[in-house]
Amino acid sequence: MIHNPSAKISAREVSVFYGANQAIDTVSIDVDRDNVLAFIGPSGCGKSTFLRTLNRMNDTVASARVSGEILLDGEDIYAPSMDVVQLRARVGMVFQKPNPFPKSIYENVAYGPRIHGLATARADLDAMVEQSLRRAGLWDEVKDRLTDSGTALSGGQQQRLCIARAIAVDPEVILMDEPCSALDPIATAKIEELIHELKGRYAIVIVTHNMQQAARVSQQTAFFHLGRLVEFGATSDIFTNPREERTRDYITGRYG
């Protein structure tokens, strides 16, 4: 199988089954290291399922079975030798609903580096927390109340806290599963701006139902339908001149 060396993640003929149901059907796609890749498609098309295969989140579902191959920098993430905890630090995830730990803002960010042994000295940890919060665009808003509970923040701030938490363990890829669907337009704009700033430092894959958002934040877009990858290409092409009829019908609001 051909491996594209510029790809951060290469998925080859990946299928996912939940028991007898096939949720993903032989999907092959590369995730660029310097770009934002958006997954779009109607509910139930498999885009979130596929996203979750990229850091083995589906392992937690007892009936889920994954076939095919997913390479992270050429390394098979489903190989028996792969340390899943380590994998999830390298491939971080941000979820639809902000889910900060019921701990202080500081602890939310410091938790990962501490358990991964990335920092032990208090000063190192402080620096990591500050850097992560800065990169997540949250530092100025929370620097004077780091001991407040993370759950006391607004929804948008909580989501940026979750991004800071993902960043804190120095990941290579960040997966975002509808990160703005519970946020208002201003908080959404802040997350989008953040995605723009994080691009280049991390490979980013985002699942979104908001097509305008996919168009705004991503350089590449993949359209999923009924568990298959229908079309994959430059975002500007997908939204101005999609090749596939199903893509066109979906993005133009003609999806039956």
Binding site: N241, T247, I251, T252, G253, R254, Y255, G256
Partner: protein, 235 residues
């Protein structure tokens, strides 16, 4: 193409397309009537063509309003986006075509009143109506191509522009020769030169419309074509 899930979106696009056809029809009429006014000559008819141009301008403004509203409220994508953008640009071009027709009508009294010999008609005038038909056909075919989303018909319109340019070149030579031989008619024939030039420009604008139709239908730009010889930019 399947209908939009939101029916009002289809209604909006349909309305936009309807207005473009209506504008195109008015512009075509304006060319035909202006030429009739010129050939007869009929200053009253010419005055009507000039007055009717306001209707074209009004529809253009309405197209603009509706297109902006569709973009703002419906965020059109892909083929819808291309179609709305094309409609916006086509409306502006058709408005210009109307202006050229109006300009032809404006010259009718000057050409007619200028004949010092009294009823003296300029022979080469007889060449202009067939050039006008050619230009007007291009406009109609370009707009028909838009209505049918027909990229191939759009290509044919673009290709037909070369013939119109050739026609213009030959009329230009004929009129210049005529002026040399009949110096008394120079001021009238100069107006005819402008009429011919206006028709040639109408063809160029029809070509622009066709190119937008092609883009709206296919999502790609029509390959750049060589649309004339070294005489192309002479005015």
């Amino acid at each position: 193409m399947v209908d939009h899930t939101v029916k009002a979106f289809d209604a909006d696009i349909g309305q936009l397309r309807g207005m473009i056809s209506q504008m195109g029809g008015l512009a075509e009429d304006a060319i035909g009537l202006a030429m009739q006014a010129l050939a007869r000559p009929d200053p009253q008819l010419a005055a009507r063509v000039r007055a009717d141009d306001k209707a074209i301008d009004a529809i253009e403004a309405e197209v603009e309003r509706l297109a902006v509203r569709i973009i703002a409220l419906r965020a059109p994508m892909a083929v819808d986006l291309r179609e709305v953008v094309a409609a916006l640009k086509i409306a502006a071009v058709v408005e210009r075509i109307g202006d050229y027709a109006k300009n032809i009508a404006k010259r009718v009294p000057m050409i007619e009143g200028g004949s010092e010999g009294g009823g003296h008609r300029i022979e080469p005038l007889s060449l202009l109506p067939s050039m006008a038909r050619m230009a007007s056909d291009m406009v109609r075919h370009a707009l028909d191509a838009f209505a049918a989303r027909d990229a191939e018909a759009a290509v044919r319109v673009v290709e037909s522009d070369a013939a119109l340019d050739d026609f213009y070149d030959s009329i230009f030579r004929t009129l210049v020769t005529y002026m040399v031989e009949n110096p008394r008619t120079i001021s009238q024939v100069a107006h005819l030169l402008f009429v011919a030039k206006n028709l040639e420009r109408i063809g160029d604008h029809a070509t622009n419309v066709a190119e937008m139709v092609y883009f709206a239908a296919t999502g790609t730009q029509m390959a750049d074509r060589d649309r004339g010889g070294p005489d192309k930019d002479r005015s």
